[in-house]
Symmetry: D2
Subunit: 382 residues, 4 copies
Amino acid sequence: MTLKEKYATTRQRTERICAPLHTEDYVVQPVADVSPPKWHLGHTTWFFETLILKPYLKGYMEYDANFNFVFNSYYESLGVRVVRTQRGNLSRPTVNEIYKYRVYVDEAMQLLLEQPLTPELETLIVLGCNHEEQHQELLWTDIKYILGHNPLLPPYEESQPSAWATPPAPSFTHIKAGQYQIGYTGDGFCYDNELNPHTVYLQEAEIANQLVTNREYLEFINIGGYKQFQHWHSEGWDWVQNNDIKAPLYWLQVDGQWQHYTLHGLKRLELDEPVAHVSYYEAAAFAAWKGYRLPTEFEWEAASGQFEWGQRWEWTESAYLPYPGFQRVPGPVGEYNGKFMVNQKVLRGASAFTPPGHSRATYRNFFHAHVRWQLTGIRLAR
Amino acid sequence: MTLKEKYATTRQRTERICAPLHTEDYVVQPVADVSPPKWHLGHTTWFFETLILKPYLKGYMEYDANFNFVFNSYYESLGVRVVRTQRGNLSRPTVNEIYKYRVYVDEAMQLLLEQPLTPELETLIVLGCNHEEQHQELLWTDIKYILGHNPLLPPYEESQPSAWATPPAPSFTHIKAGQYQIGYTGDGFCYDNELNPHTVYLQEAEIANQLVTNREYLEFINIGGYKQFQHWHSEGWDWVQNNDIKAPLYWLQVDGQWQHYTLHGLKRLELDEPVAHVSYYEAAAFAAWKGYRLPTEFEWEAASGQFEWGQRWEWTESAYLPYPGFQRVPGPVGEYNGKFMVNQKVLRGASAFTPPGHSRATYRNFFHAHVRWQLTGIRLAR
Amino acid sequence: MTLKEKYATTRQRTERICAPLHTEDYVVQPVADVSPPKWHLGHTTWFFETLILKPYLKGYMEYDANFNFVFNSYYESLGVRVVRTQRGNLSRPTVNEIYKYRVYVDEAMQLLLEQPLTPELETLIVLGCNHEEQHQELLWTDIKYILGHNPLLPPYEESQPSAWATPPAPSFTHIKAGQYQIGYTGDGFCYDNELNPHTVYLQEAEIANQLVTNREYLEFINIGGYKQFQHWHSEGWDWVQNNDIKAPLYWLQVDGQWQHYTLHGLKRLELDEPVAHVSYYEAAAFAAWKGYRLPTEFEWEAASGQFEWGQRWEWTESAYLPYPGFQRVPGPVGEYNGKFMVNQKVLRGASAFTPPGHSRATYRNFFHAHVRWQLTGIRLAR
Amino acid sequence: MTLKEKYATTRQRTERICAPLHTEDYVVQPVADVSPPKWHLGHTTWFFETLILKPYLKGYMEYDANFNFVFNSYYESLGVRVVRTQRGNLSRPTVNEIYKYRVYVDEAMQLLLEQPLTPELETLIVLGCNHEEQHQELLWTDIKYILGHNPLLPPYEESQPSAWATPPAPSFTHIKAGQYQIGYTGDGFCYDNELNPHTVYLQEAEIANQLVTNREYLEFINIGGYKQFQHWHSEGWDWVQNNDIKAPLYWLQVDGQWQHYTLHGLKRLELDEPVAHVSYYEAAAFAAWKGYRLPTEFEWEAASGQFEWGQRWEWTESAYLPYPGFQRVPGPVGEYNGKFMVNQKVLRGASAFTPPGHSRATYRNFFHAHVRWQLTGIRLAR
């Protein structure tokens, strides 16, 4: 796929995700972590406009000077911005206007992509595509949150979800003690937080070949796992108490029967499906109750060739920290990862919402320990 | 006007107010006091459906059982409801769906209005129309807030506002000491909080024939009125400090020039216009600085035949309290006024946003002392 | 009693109230409304030092320049100060130091009181004594709060409380419709908020001769009064829900038996005692449930010669507002009352904690509607 | 030293630290992280009573059943407790009462210590002594906070602090790439979080032999380091903005001169002293500005034989996570460390406030990233 095709494919996929939405669904922001879909549409476009078109396309005319204020996410180096919690208060620019903005920027990008590009500029455009892919995943999870927290529980699509196959019997991959190489060594795209491949020493360990299922997690609920402090971190226990947490996000007990909200509407819980929408606190408490623990990100990466992954972002025990020799790039691109490297946990793998080809075994996702609106799951280790 | 005409006129006016909006403008709720326009459209309709159609129209089929949860404002007696601060998180029902709901309810109401009605039912329908008129006023102020707090400051309508005439020289109406009759004595519609006409004794006083203008208020700003504690109530002073208040809502200093957001967009401040969008705290501080005070609601009512009113809701010094003999009606209608009679101030008059014929000299509006998004103004007394 | 005797008596009473305390009891501030006893000891002394000794006693040397910052309560005109919620964080000045400060100021005051005084200065000293009497009442209620919220529930004094006599059968005083004179007309001391005696017109009414007892209030609890929204103001209902209120402050159900914390420790509830420690919200809800209402402050004052009062501060329906012609005095004394005249309710009477001779029929006490740590009670009207 | 001597020495040191305090200083809790000194006195005693005397000393009579509620810190397995933020609201038990409690428990412990002890019981008593040593360090820092946040800035002791010697020229210890052994391997006491000695692989690195001084840190302030977002983590930058942070805790600019509060009172800043009272955010931002980073806890431990440490707890880049094979012990002792292993940073070394012999090269201290009331310092790496 040429870069021009990559660009076009990426941009179209974003709009295809939004196609089933009503205009109103594009606008709302029920919690701070969720952004309105129209904001995602605008922000990914602003990213190309600001980091690529303005500096690199000769004669480019900015679409609207106010959009920098509206669509900047967190780049301190790119000026003041609408605070994150206020995104759902903005009725303007309208959805139509933002689609026009996309067309305008896409046309300018096409122009640019027909010109000879320096390697640096190519890298930046690939970064822009990967950035938009990340927002596609967020679009799925944010749309699910917006509809799944509406009292009418409207489905995103009417079609029937496909059933889950019974998972194979639990088994474990053995990790031998010794030195392992960690980090990205290929020549494709990767983020700066995967760079500087380096040696780590791992102790002997075992890591599960399967993800924890709803069936297994339900057992934890049924024995009273949410009421027994001893499985929980102190912070996790406070979080459970203060938020009255009793089950994963989107789980609902209706007449004694567990159901969960899906993009197809409210459905009976599929017991063979890997559990999703759990926080790190829940993942760690479940593992502790089982007499296991979560894998570290290095164990996961070292063993990742031995098991299937890609349905759930998997919580690890690792904190999100810089690899040896990590350097923040100067300028706005340098704000992409480094400044978030404190008080977050690493997730590895990919999820059913991740665009195809977006993730890889060295990919490092990260969220705060209480976050549940992503398709987060649990893999055990010991 | 027949009741049937009154109903139709009222319902159409609501929709005419919303006509210039984009779909997105119907959805957002930038602060708790403001409701999304689509919520007003649905709530006023739900009021007719719940209090009139369901109990009184034989064979009426509820439009959607979920709407009770979505569109109940504060009626404890009518079941659980979406909390006020969450109204802006709801993308569904969509604007189209709500307009369909309005058509459905209007058709049912037409049926009912062709039948012979008991006086009790007529009163209830008149109440529903007055209720919707109150929400028309809120629609204006909420739309102004939604657009006026958008960083793009879009106008609601492009047309030019009409200029304000130079006001006449300040003069005062004299109120003689003695007994006055207060409260509604006519035979038209009024709210329960105006009832039980009764005697009050007023001391001698004077009340201004004109409202305070932007010009006069600007003088208060310019001499540093927002920085001098001695004019303010203790709570008002805290409110000024904590919210960094420096001018009325919608005032903006651009390059040393005062402008204000209006439904026609951002405009230069009209110095001869009565000041608007001030809190009770500001009104009282301004009056104290001038060596005056605000009138009581009884002084206002007693003298209201002597001066013009109707452009601004006017803050009074009176707390919102029950008149002697006030009784809450049993059932949901009884929740209309009585339960709010603590910690609010009375406003008298009407505003440029009040539907024609909606207010009267005995009308008692009420808001918390810090509220500014209404067209609130200042009349002095001494 | 000479002014010199009045001064000495007042100052000694304050210290007698504190005598049974341990040093630690002087220091803590469990909630913002409560001040540490040592702060009261210092603040009342600072009042005399700042408003009287510094301006009027020639050659007076300030005790410690830092104390102005520590002991100023809310006087904006007297400089910056420790914020109210931080008073319990201060271990210094120590209790001993503050008692030394009291001796120092008392000696200086004795000097001053031996000189000929202008009427203005006499008035100011009387104000200082009345101010200290108000703080004596607060000392009682704050000490009760400090000990009554300690998990050990220590008594303030070990002695046995005297039993309450069975109250007489309920009866009512009739108030005839007509004009009444309100406000202080004597030539003794009164606060500025009682001044400007003036005429009010009252409708016909009845006011109870007895306060509501624990027995009657218990009935309200037992029928589920705290769970029935229809008796409550909207704000009161929110307050009940958010704070999980189920009974007056200090009431505790132990093994199905109602007890209450008193200065003598935890005791069985005295059913014949007037109910205390209720908020305005509770008082109004109780009255509504009984089919009554609270009296206005004017009804109370007009009828106050006909019934006994003095055990409980009695909530009225009246908001705390200025009397006609009320003027704030310039300077710090003017901050005493006027700036609080918004969003508070008037209480009339006096309480068992009020120093003898401190209150009178025209006295206007005021608190926010949710306040309960005072000896607040209920008298019904209709 | 025998265990009996160890016990006696430890207990006496605690009381010696408190000796210069006034009674009032024992009581207050100006922020949640700080506990009142009397709480430390009681809590360390409760620890011996609850974990040792009650289960192991035959015939032991509990001192006061209420103390479990008052002096439990965070042990869920040991019952309900006073919430942490409420400790400063308790005037009782008094300081005298708590000293009596100490005597009572000490006498019982002497009895027990004269009996033959199982190794498990010996371990538990040693844990109790180490626990009390940790609280001695907290006593120092909490006393400093209590006095250093009092507007009178009283000194803890009047004596003159000793001057700091000029530090040697900056130099670095080289760490060779390769495998290192981490964790406690001795046969003395250590905490469970140091256990399971294991191999880690370190990349080549350099670690500073000296701590960062006030002189160096002042340079960071002077060039505007607190106003330049690019040095900071995103969370750190928010923390700086929201709390208006401009310098380390206790630093005060008086007439353009930097001073800092010390236990000897307010003193001129010693430029050669290692900087203290910085958060992890500040430590990391300082390092980033210098073109360095903080060491990991493994680099620190591997190189710790090569440099002097012990004046400041040193922030590392490492998150506080379990070592491979870490197991929580069942019962209350298992709540000591494991449940805190999320969202905290590891500190290594010891501070001037650490009791002699308490720390060691494998010791892992941990705090949240914003914490500054400890004697926290900065060592650079690259």
